[in-house]
Symmetry: C2
Subunit: 155 residues, 2 copies
DNA sequence: TCCACTTAGTGCGATTTCGTATTATATAGT
DNA sequence: ACTATATAATACGAAATCGCACTAAGTGGA
């Protein structure tokens, strides 16, 4: 792989990392005490995909250890934003369900970003951002499918 | 702000977050024991911008508390990848300098990603990624400049 | 100069994240 | 049915991250 090509990919992920850092900070500044971005992200995932998933599925989806997901879910339960019920099909596992406050919390958290989005919109119109989405989704889908191979290709 | 516009921006940052998560995991899988992504990121920042910066400047650049940067720098010093020297212009502060092993480590860490980049290149050619860079950089620059206003506009 | 105020770095305790080991349940082979 | 193996969740301890408070040093005004 030539230097120029490597630099293109590296700079891309560099930009991604910085953008993520900046948006994470902006988002967490809007969240109430005791709730972090992972809490919101789980609510968002349960809404976008579907609720009733197991903690293990969520841990794999977020690329975090199971113990971390247990901790995050404990916090969400404590705040009444999700419910854990036993999985009738598997006595070992549980299933995670959104509560009404959980759904409401997610919607309000997104709406709370409007001031940020409005300032951004003044500099970068929605069309320009929308134009990036297909390519980003494509790269994301590839990495998502590719991640398992990382282990196999270690040596 | 209408729902459609909000959704565009939200989905954009959603993709950014997932991409960051996936690439972070892939990157950390390549790093040796005892060194995390923040360690690499600081080395990269010192290389790209310039070394000799103060810990406080780095903490602000990375949007982390000063104590976190102290911790990260302590680890880098322990591994001999950076040096801390007193700041002759300000007795309170220090300056962080890259060492030769630090520079080498960064280059090797980037090169270690080649297998990942090569697999990605087979699905998403460099041109397509390069085409995204200007827009991403523009959005990143805006957020970077905008982040201070978050506090002011809280209420 | 002196004194109040600000700033850079760090010590300390709390929370989050993570790796390992453990328990309970499911699955497969006999 | 029984045993060995695999899997889901968690308990536990280590490391990372963070907020608060403290010390040392710089800044500005009387």
């Amino acid at each position: 792989m030539d230097d120029e090509t490597r630099l293109i990919y590296f700079r891309f992920f560099n930009e991604i990392g910085i953008l993520s850092q900046l948006s994470r900070a902006a988002m967490e500044a809007r969240l109430p005490d005791g709730l972090m971005l992972p809490h919101f992200s789980v609510l968002n995932h349960l809404t976008r995909v579907r609720d009733g998933q197991t903690p293990n599925t969520l841990a794999r989806a977020f690329q975090v250890p199971k113990t971390t997901m247990t901790h995050t879910l404990t916090g969400l339960v404590k705040h009444g934003l999700v419910e854990m019920r036993p999985n009738p099909k598997d006595g070992r596992s549980k299933r995670v369900w959104l509560t009404e406050p959980g759904r409401r919390f997610r919607v309000e958290a997104i709406r709370a970003l409007d001031p940020n989005f409005q300032r951004l919109a003044a500099a970068i119109p929605p069309d320009q951002v929308a134009a990036l989405l297909p390519a980003l989704a494509e790269i994301r889908a590839f990495l998502d499918a590719d991640r398992d191979r990382d282990d196999d290709a270690e040596d």
